[in-house]
Amino acid sequence: MIHYITQDPLWVRIFQASGTMLLVFLALFVAHRFGIKLLREGGLALLRGLLQVVGVGLLLVAVFRGPSWLAPIVLLCMMGIGTQIASSRVHKLPRTRTIIFSSILLSVGVSLVLTLALGIIETRSTAMIPIGSMMIANAMNTISLALERLQGEIKSHTGQIEAALSLGASPAQAIAPMIQTAVQASLIPRIDTMRSLGIVWIPGLMTGMLLGGEDPLRSALYQFVIVALILGVGAFASLSAVLMLRPALFNQAEQLLEN
């Protein structure tokens, strides 16, 4: 249909982008009618996403053509921005920036080294940046989910935590059930992704490989490796964030701090 209006591939994409944005705004508007106040935040996120992805697209071309040491720098910048986004969700918790950044760095760093060592990707910017950014985005998401949930669990279970302390429990013991719930909750989306892999969700990567004439078994295994990586990074990231945060929730006298 759109091809009747213009043949220019750039304009085709621009029309397509506008169409999908309309879809999102429609959903946000309906939500607004039901008192779900997401219109402003959702709209801004949409615009921001659009500008960012276009800007980065242009930037990436330059990076891909440049030397490979640019890749880690680009990834570090992405981690910094991811940290900013994730910490804005849980601003009431202590030391969140440092903790989130370290968790992303640790989980993505370890996984990236493993991916390189196993030869899953090559040490080229064109491979490291897409995979790395995917890992960072996942780490950021699971950390956000875990910390937000932990904050909620602490708030709704303050009495239980203090009851445990008052019976002589260590801070770690007293807060263990809330930590457990937070990490589990943060991983549910990743685990569901894994469960639906190939059945509900046939990822683009595998489709591309299949269409390119790649052996089905090999493409399937490669896709599995990538999804497993995402799950692994997520688990590692949320666990390390929550465990790094834990001591900061209590003071020297083993009292629960107000957050």
Partner: protein, 233 residues
């Protein structure tokens, strides 16, 4: 030497620039029961929370058996100074899990007989495997008490243990706790809103008002002070 288990000197707690509690001093002899009364918000719970070190004092000191509690490891202090909170805050899943919790923190696994003995002390024999979701308010209060007693505390802090219960149940639990205190010779601090209850229990009385000590003395305070008569808070 002193037989005072607890000595509180010039205790105060400040939060966000206001004093929740200030200039509180008293001492409590081993085996005695002190009742704390005062209007809602007068700092009664704050006092108990400082004794159990859930809250930090801003001034003054607390001596347990002559030792400043800030020099003790918090976990062992909290085992020695048991607290029964205003609401039970039970842990999932079963009643027995709750009873075992305290001793387990020190690596001590209570036997089934120990659990049963503690439960029958509070009139809940045979409740061990019951889910905490299936307890009435009175039963939950008893579990909360038994859970604290499982730690064999030297000093027992009771924050309105009967406040959430109806008159009859309140009397029953009161008699139960009073009996246990008597039998075991516990030293205890009991917060209540109820003058009649206070008269039945008290050997020593601390009256608080707006975070300050209004009076400290014996049971006669409850007769003299007309302002505390009637339902408080």
């Amino acid at each position: 030497m002193t037989t005072h288990l607890l000595e509180v000197r010039d205790l105060g707690r400040q939060s966000e620039g206001t004093w929740l509690l200030r200039e509180i001093s008293f001492s409590l002899q081993t085996g005695k029961l002190m009742v704390v009364m005062g209007p809602s918000g007068s700092g009664k719970s704050t006092l108990l929370r400082m004794l159990n070190r859930l809250d930090e004092p801003s001034s003054g000191s607390i001596l347990l058996d002559g030792v400043d509690i800030t020099t003790l490891p918090p976990q062992s202090l909290r085992r020695r100074v048991g607290m029964v909170m205003q609401s039970p805050h039970l842990f999932p899943e079963t009643v027995a899990d709750n009873i075992r919790f305290g001793p387990l923190q020190r690596g001590k696994q209570l036997s089934d007989e120990d659990v049963e003995r503690l439960l029958s002390q509070v009139g809940l024999a045979g409740f061990g495997e019951r889910s905490i979701k299936k307890l009435s308010g009175g039963e939950a209060a008893r579990v909360s008490l038994a859970r604290t007693l499982a730690n064999e505390p030297e000093l027992l802090l009771l924050d309105e243990p009967t406040a959430a219960l109806d008159e009859a149940m309140s009397r029953e639990i009161e008699a139960l706790i009073a009996g246990l205190l008597q039998e075991n010779g516990y030293t205890a601090i009991w917060i209540t809103h109820h003058v009649e209850q206070a008269k039945r229990l008290a050997e020593q009385v601390l009256l608080l008002d707006q975070g300050r000590c209004k009076a400290l003395g014996g049971v006669e305070l409850l007769q003299q002070d007309s302002s505390i008569h009637g339902k408080m808070g």
